[in-house]
């Protein structure tokens, strides 16, 4: 079953679930919204990401029923929690976000995309960081100057495409497809939207594309293709890319 982590307000997510469940056979998709995170039935042991249970659409499900997850939110927001006392909403939203930030990161099924950089649908890069990454990879980008007092004015988006694994959803030039695929590989995220200006330069990238029928079907294919490939913890076995100090003082206790 494909789990879509979204919100009850997310019409595209609801349509996607309905589209997948229209097919004959067992339930193929379910929507997990913020209210589900308040319902009894969540049982997750930190040392057993394969096991336990979750709640989606008000029903308790074994984690082992999941084949993949599509993440459609940056965080859980206090405003979604009308069933929670107003004084507690900000705290509960933060707790729910933290739970998902862990669970979606360690879940041993394909997740598009795993939480990172402080948001649920990683990698948490800003548009400026995507443009810098694309430039470093040799692709044309819109060059902007960032100023605290004036927001940057972005050119109009002319072409929009989405990478889902190695598949491209949308019509674009080959160089644009190459750009979004290179960015998704470089950031190690399977789902990435990219918008280009009329000259083919990258304007914007992010991980929350509009959820069309073509896209949800591409997500389904990706999940099917990658069922056996558990990337949940792979990145922690490699060195972080962030620059950290490496001074040469010998390691050891300094009482």
């Amino acid at each position: 079953m494909l789990l879509i982590v979204g919100g009850s307000y997310d019409a595209e997510a609801r349509s996607a679930v309905a589209h997948l469940n229209r097919r004959p056979g067992p339930q193929r998709a379910a929507l997990l919204d913020a209210a589900d995170l308040s319902r009894p039935g969540w049982r997750l042991l930190a040392n057993d990401p394969h096991g336990g249970s979750l709640v989606a659409e008000g029903k308790v499900l074994p984690v082992s029923d999941l084949t993949g997850v599509l993440v459609r939110r940056l965080a859980v927001y206090p405003e979604e929690l009308q069933h929670v006392h107003a004084d507690d909403r900000a705290y509960v939203a933060s707790e729910m976000t933290a739970l998902l930030a862990w669970w979606l990161r360690v879940l041993p099924v394909p997740v598009l995309n795993r939480p990172a950089g402080g948001i649920l649908c990683g990698p948490g890069r800003r548009p400026e960081q995507w443009r810098v990454a694309a430039r470093d990879l040799g692709f044309p980008v819109v060059l902007l100057r960032r100023e605290a007092t004036r927001p940057p004015v972005l050119p109009a988006i002319h072409t929009e495409i989405v990478a889902v694994g190695e598949e491209i959803v949308g019509e674009a030039l080959q160089t644009q497809a190459d750009c979004v695929l290179a960015l998704s590989r470089e950031a190690n995220v399977p789902l990435l939207y990219a918008g280009f200006d009329e000259f083919g330069a990258l304007v914007m990238a992010h991980s929350l594309p509009r959820l069309s029928v073509d896209l949800i079907e591409a997500v389904e294919r990706y999940v099917e293709l990658n069922r056996e490939s558990d990337q949940s913890l792979a990145e922690w076995s490699t060195s972080p890319t962030t620059r950290v100090a490496s001074n040469c003082v010998p390691a050891g206790a300094q009482p």
Binding site: L99, R146, T149, R243, C248, P255
Partner: protein, 305 residues
């Protein structure tokens, strides 16, 4: 040139500025109380190409070699200072946002980069990374289910609960009352096996390690309510393997500075609870006299190492 961003009277900020001054280094202090007079501009494709202004200073970004950011939310700082003007708050938010972006893009050494600090926003996520660095972590249940919580407590005997996210919360033993809250509850809860033993706080600065023990009768020594619960902090040394593991964890998290909470269990286990990416280390340094500030000043002065 060293840039320090925060509130000049904040303990670690003040300590490191004083340590640098003793070495003849005058860092740039970007005080958040002056955010209304601060501005920043840079080219996305070259974060060294730009300038930072605050007060009567205008600094070329290319001259900044290291940054020690320890900011609060500037709009809240302004509020604390009695500034309630909407435009000032908006400017503060935009300035914070721009500076936080610059910290991600600059080639300068940032101690610590904001995006590397986000693991602390989810304790179980950070715990998974702690386990990947080789430490034991407590058996942990995340649940909205009173029956699951009761079973977990029965399995471990004593169980604590604490926040899942980055909001600071008091660690408490799970009693019947809290179990009742889960049954009625709106929020998922994190439960952990209680591990009796000795608390240690370890600060890692680059490759330097400073450890101390904390003795207290409280479940959470940060919140003493009686004299025996008052923390008694003493410097200590660590086995080399644990010290190296602390450095490895700090690096895995993408940090250059971390405050790591360990417990040496009565059963001999070395358990790690969390790593704070912006530690208020002066609380421990005042008790032990350990040279954490001096190490941080060295790190900031020698980014090439």
């Amino acid at each position: 040139m060293i840039l320090v961003w925060g509130i000049s009277e904040d303990g670690p900020v003040r300590a490191v500025r004083e340590a640098l001054a003793r070495e003849g280094e005058a860092p740039l202090m970007l005080d958040q109380f002056d955010v209304a007079q601060s501005d920043l501009s840079f080219a996305e494709t070259d974060a060294s190409d730009g300038w930072l202004t605050f007060g009567d200073k205008c600094i070329e970004l290319s001259s900044i070699t290291t940054v020690y950011p320890r900011p609060y939310e500037s709009a809240r700082v302004l509020k604390a200072a009695g500034e309630v003007d909407f435009e000032a708050a908006q400017h503060a938010a935009k300035f914070d946002d721009t500076l936080l972006l610059w910290l991600e893009l600059t080639p300068a050494l940032v101690v610590n980069v904001p995006s590397a600090m986000t693991s602390n926003g989810s304790k179980p996520l950070q715990s998974a990374m702690i386990a990947a660095a080789g430490f034991d972590v407590p058996d942990t249940l995340l649940t909205t289910d009173a029956q699951a919580a009761a079973e977990f407590r029965d399995r471990h005997g004593r169980v604590i609960y604490k926040s899942i996210g980055g909001v600071r919360s008091r660690v408490s033993l799970l009693e019947e009352q809290a179990l009742g809250r889960i049954a009625n509850g709106a929020s998922p809860l994190q439960l952990q096996e209680y591990i009796p033993g000795t608390d240690l706080r370890v600060h890692v600065v680059g490759n330097e390690v400073f450890a101390c023990t904390i003795e207290s009768e409280a479940v959470d020594y940060r919140y003493p309510s009686t004299q025996p619960e008052e923390p008694r902090i003493k410097a200590c040394s660590l086995p080399a393997m644990i010290s190296d593991r602390c450095i490895a964890l700090t690096r895995l998290l993408g940090l250059s500075l971390a405050g790591i909470d360990l417990r040496r269990g009565n059963d001999g286990r070395w358990v790690c609870f969390e790593a704070n990416p912006s530690p208020g280390y002066t609380f421990y340094e005042q008790a032990t006299g350990a040279g954490i500030t001096a190490a941080l000043a060295r790190l900031l002065r020698s980014p090439e190492n």
